[in-house]
Amino acid sequence: MARAVSNRTRALNTAVAGTLGFLMFFPILWIFILSFKTEEDAIRAPLEVLFGSGWTLDSFFTVQERSDYFKHFANSVIISLGSTFVGLLIAIPAAWAMAFVPARHTKNVLMWMLSTKMLPPVGVLVPIYLIFRDYGLLDTRIGLVIVLTLMNLPIIIWMLYTYFKEIPGEILEAARMDGASLREEILHVLTPMAIPGMASTVLLNIILAWNEAFWTLNLTAANAAPLTAFIASYSSPEGLFYAKLSAASIMAIAPILIMGWFSQRQLVRGLTFGAVK
């Protein structure tokens, strides 16, 4: 920044942004606090919750006793990583071709792909359910990987396309002059340059797949049920349940939250959808 900024301005900015940021974050912080309280304490007035009550891990144990967290966790990991990986495999060639060998209809094809995402899933649930039943895909991780891959494919392609497009074509031509094959071109020239973009594509898709709550709930029963199903059983209270709900919520969102925090730099850098010239 060219201008010198006084510490006072800095402090003022920090105060304003910090307050607003804290407000955004507060609900998450609050359930984190509640998850360490007893049920009776969890419904007390906010200040009493903070200063007038003890801490306990009981809720976590109760939740774990009710349904095995680790099984759901493993399913979530497999489904979100699996669908992202398969999605990348299919999307990279397509995005590459669109970016470097644009044809007359490339833009239309891309837009059409995006428009498939606008179909309301609930409108096609019964057909998909019947198809899944016939192919034995109900309540399987493979089935969910397929659905989530297809759900997010348009987004993956679009994101990759915008990153590839930013790579100057001259570099590729130079590589080609040097006799690089198509495979080498993609592997050794393109991929390294596109890694930041790919990283944020991967991150965004893991987040979307992890949080997807329509297909994962409707196509699973017990074996393939991910964390979205784990949390679904808390949607109706039985007695006092704020502490249990908080604990279950924290358990469900913590992995992705931590991943998000550690990789937010990549996410921020790459999440542009071509919006930045």
Binding site: M1, V101, V124
Partner: protein
């Protein structure tokens, strides 16, 4: 520059994606269209006779249909308004020099990682519940009547919850776009005596236009089919006050188990989504050299 050979190769490379997406679209879609002409109720097996346009007639004349259309628009529009305005504000704010920017950014982004079901449940119970929720407790302790969020302002409550989850997304994209803003141009404008408001209107906003379109496009795609948030908070009610088109289809096909009726609704929703899509694509097309 592209040779014939590379064109063929390119087609081969695009083909898998196109074929898969085409299948993903066409197979269920044609089944849905087929079902929409049948009397097909899961709980009364009747052999599913062909009934023509009957399902469409019943779906469109359903008193809930109009409300659902309106709610869908208000939901998408409301969330877009809040997230775009809030996102611009956060982007401007975060772009300023400050201490601990990284930490503040992390706090702002955090809601984006939270599952829709979790955030809806948390807001509904821990905050918006008029008896035990935090807002209710604060209101009561100050001597006010607590607001019954889900009963009195159901749609607005859902808009607020969804906005909380998507504000980080808008902020992220707009913030990234802000960073490529030419600082010298801004300073030059300042030298010329342009106030901060006119600098914002004439330099910052045009620079962000592209990013804003992207935010609108992506969010519209996701908000047209908002479902989980409604399911766990209001169940579309009271009455139909928070029923959107997606939820109405859910009610028909999975609560009344009337697959025929639900399918007709699905087809209608798909047509409407496509109208919105065309409209958006036009808008984006201008702004985006995709």
């Amino acid at each position: 520059m592209a040779t014939k050979a590379s064109r063929a190769a390119a087609r081969m490379m695009i083909a898998p994606s196109v074929i898969l997406l085409l299948a993903w679209m066409i197979v269920p879609l044609s089944l849905t269209i087929y079902f929409s002409f049948l009397r097909y109720n899961l709980i009364t097996p009747t052999g599913n006779p062909f009934v023509g346009w009957e399902n469409y007639y019943w779906f469109v004349t359903d008193p809930s249909f109009q409300a659902a259309m309106l709610n869908t628009l208000m939901l998408v529009g409301g969330v877009l308004l809040i997230t775009v305005a809030g996102g611009i504000m956060f982007a401007l704010l975060l772009d300023r020099p400050m201490f601990g920017q990284g930490i503040i950014r992390i706090m702002v982004i955090a809601p984006f990682f939270v599952m829709p079901t979790v955030s809806a449940l948390v807001w509904k119970n821990m905050f918006m519940n008029p008896v035990n929720g935090m807002f209710g407790q604060i209101a009561t302790s100050l001597g006010f009547q607590p607001i019954d969020f889900m009963g009195q302002i159901p749609l607005l409550s859902i808009i607020l919850i969804v906005s909380w989850m998507w504000l980080p997304f808008a902020t992220l994209i707009l913030f990234t776009a802000m960073q490529s803003l030419d600082q010298e141009q801004l300073e030059a404008a300042e030298m010329d005596g342009a106030g901060s408001f006119s600098r914002f209107v004439f330099i910052v906003l045009p620079h962000l236009a592209r990013a804003i379109t992207v935010v609108i496009l992506i969010q519209t795609i996701f908000h047209l089919s908002i479902f989980a948030e409604i399911l766990v908070t209001t169940n579309g009610g009271p009455g139909t006050a928070s029923t959107n088109l997606t939820y109405l289809i859910y009610v028909s096909s999975l609560l009344q188990f009337d697959v025929g009726l639900g399918s007709a609704g699905g087809v209608i929703a798909i047509i409407l989504a496509n109208i919105v899509a065309i409209f958006l694509m036009r808008m984006i097309g201008k702004n985006l050299d995709a």
